[in-house]
């Protein structure tokens, strides 16, 4: 009887051990990796819910997460809702979120830059813009809502026209309804390629002073294991930069050999800026 009990107990322990090993194996598989949920808002081609990998930065986030055994889930919401939620992990420009939320870590993953653009065939001479006053005499297209401090610009004597989308600004410029457009460089290039593929060279980009910003991944203080996850993600970013995956993703959107100058230096500068302890 006693032997029977021992045998039963042994079998039970063996079954439990098998169960534990099976669960451990399953959890270590990609499909069962620890999931980290982020909030982003639709900003093509950087973040989009439409494509499989969620756009350029979505691809970066998924690749860096995967390389360290994490799974990133990106949920899309309007920007104001993301800002109001001060307990979630966010994706985008940290300056939008930092006023109302404390983060365990901010990890810059890419750079974006604003430019002034014009359609050359409508202008006899190349346009040079170095300061605000140089915009006088032109009709300048901007995205609706981007000019929070309207009175300053209203009194500047510059003629602005707003649109709801960057695509619309490009189309208006081609039609001659606006002279210049202030847009995110990569977004504008994507629109031009989509709508006017044979006229890409006719759209000219004017570089602006201090026009770059960071796109970052922000881990909330309330995220369980925030520091551990942050360290893993930093390590994941390093891995994909070193093994070439990162470059491949960025070049998919910018074109091979077209990653903007100083990209990696800027990324490092933003890393220092958002983590400065001096």
């Amino acid at each position: 009887m006693n032997q029977l009990k021992q045998k039963h107990l042994f079998l039970q322990l063996f079954k439990n051990a098998i169960l534990v090993v099976t669960i451990s194996l399953l959890v270590s598989l990609p499909g069962f990796a620890e999931e980290v949920v982020f909030g982003a808002n639709e900003s093509k081609p950087y973040w989009t819910s439409e494509k499989q990998y969620n756009g350029m930065c979505g691809e970066i986030v998924h690749a860096m997460s995967k390389s360290v055994g994490l799974t990133a889930k990106i949920e899309f919401s309007p920007l104001q809702r993301l800002i109001d939620d001060d307990a979630n992990n966010d994706l985008g420009n940290p300056d939008f979120y930092m006023k109302s939320q404390s983060f365990a870590s901010i990890i810059p993953i890419a750079i974006y830059k604003a430019s002034l653009i014009y359609y050359q065939p409508h202008h006899k001479e190349p346009i040079e813009i170095k300061m605000l006053d140089d915009l006088k005499g032109f009709k300048v297209g901007i995205l609706k809502g981007t000019m929070a401090e309207q009175s300053y610009f209203e009194h500047s004597g510059i003629d602005f026209e707003t649109s709801y989308s960057q695509d619309s600004l490009i189309k208006k410029m081609k039609l001659g309804r606006i002279d210049l457009s202030l847009e995110i460089e990569l977004v504008a290039k994507t629109s031009i390629t989509n709508y006017f593929p044979e006229e890409v060279d006719n759209f000219k980009f004017i570089e602006l002073n201090d026009a770059d910003s960071a796109i970052a991944l922000m881990i909330a203080e309330d995220q369980p294991n925030a520091m551990e996850i942050s360290n893993k993600l930093r390590s994941g970013l390093k891995t994909i930069i070193e093994n070439g995956t990162y470059k491949k993703i960025v070049e998919k959107y910018y074109g091979v050999g077209n990653i903007p100058n100083n990209w990696f230096d800027d990324l490092e500068n933003y890393r220092l800026l958002y983590n400065f302890q001096g």
């Binding site: 940290p94 930092m98 404390s102 974006y112 140089d134 915009l135 201090d210 800026l273 001096g278």
Partner: protein, 272 residues
């Protein structure tokens, strides 16, 4: 023509254009401050009380400069240590003695700092007798980057966060008290905690006047000259009444306006 301006964010997309006047102002004279309403903030058209004062002085002395408001105090410190701005704005920003050798401090105003607690979270009053040791059983909510040695020395537990988070932590009892400027408290509670604001109580006699400065960076080539004329320009707008006109927009109590002007005058006589 003088041109002073500040940076602001769009509300369209978290990876969208941030249209700033500095984009179109190739200005070598940059002045960084951090968002601390209503002193310096992108939430107000004119950038807040201190931004307006600095702007008024720059116009008076005919100096072109760009005021840039960033979200965090640590970012202001990054810029002054890593880049070569003309100046930064803030309280003392915890510079060490070595760093201070390269900086010129000119007071441009004051803040009334006070200890605040959340009454519904405490059956008893959290009272201040002038000694931190009396608060040893409580947890202090410090702003990121704040020096907290004096609290730790008196065994006061410390937790760090940003102002908005600290206020939430007072409600959730994760911290027991925090330090805020009076104007900032009124602004933050009106804007973010309108239903709970009556529960936030200032500890008796905890009012402390702290000067705020424009801090010129001696490594900037124009800094010595501009700092010198800035001080004169500030005195001129104080004498002309322009300064008082600005602070009246933000400080509604006459006694507080008088206190502000008296303390500033005294501070200015101490600047050499």
């Amino acid at each position: 023509m003088s041109l002073s301006c500040f940076l602001f964010a769009s509300d369209v997309s978290a990876t969208g254009p941030r249209i700033t006047k500095s984009l179109l102002s190739p200005n070598e004279n940059q002045i960084y401050s951090y968002d601390y309403p209503p002193f310096t903030t992108t939430d107000l058209e004119m950038g807040g009380m201190s931004t307006e004062i600095i702007d008024a002085v720059l116009q008076k002395i005919n100096i072109d400069a760009t005021q840039i408001i960033v979200p965090l105090q640590s970012m202001v410190k990054f810029y002054i240590h890593q880049e070569q701005p003309l100046a930064v704005y803030g309280k003392n920003l915890n510079f060490n003695q070595q760093q201070k050798k390269h900086l010129t401090f000119i007071p441009i105003g004051i803040m009334n700092s006070q200890y605040v607690f959340y009454k519904p979270a405490h059956k008893e009053n959290v009272s201040w007798n002038g000694q931190l040791s009396s608060l040893a059983k409580y947890t202090y909510g410090a702003s990121n980057g704040e020096l907290v040695e004096e609290y730790k020395k008196e065994n006061v537990k410390v937790k760090y966060a940003r102002t908005h988070s600290l206020l939430k932590k007072l409600i959730s009892k994760e911290i027991d008290f925090m330090k805020m400027s009076e104007l900032n408290r009124i602004w933050m509670l009106d804007k973010h905690f309108p239903h709970e604001k009556s529960g936030f109580v200032v500890m008796n006699n905890s009012d402390k006047i702290e000067p705020v400065f424009i801090i010129f960076n001696k490594k900037h080539p124009q800094s010595s000259h501009i700092a010198k004329i800035f001080k004169k320009g500030l005195a001129e707008i104080v004498d002309s009444g322009e300064y008082l006109k600005i602070i009246k927009k933000y400080r509604t109590q006459k006694s507080k306006q008088e206190q502000h002007m008296q303390v500033l005058s005294k501070l200015l006589t101490q600047v050499h």
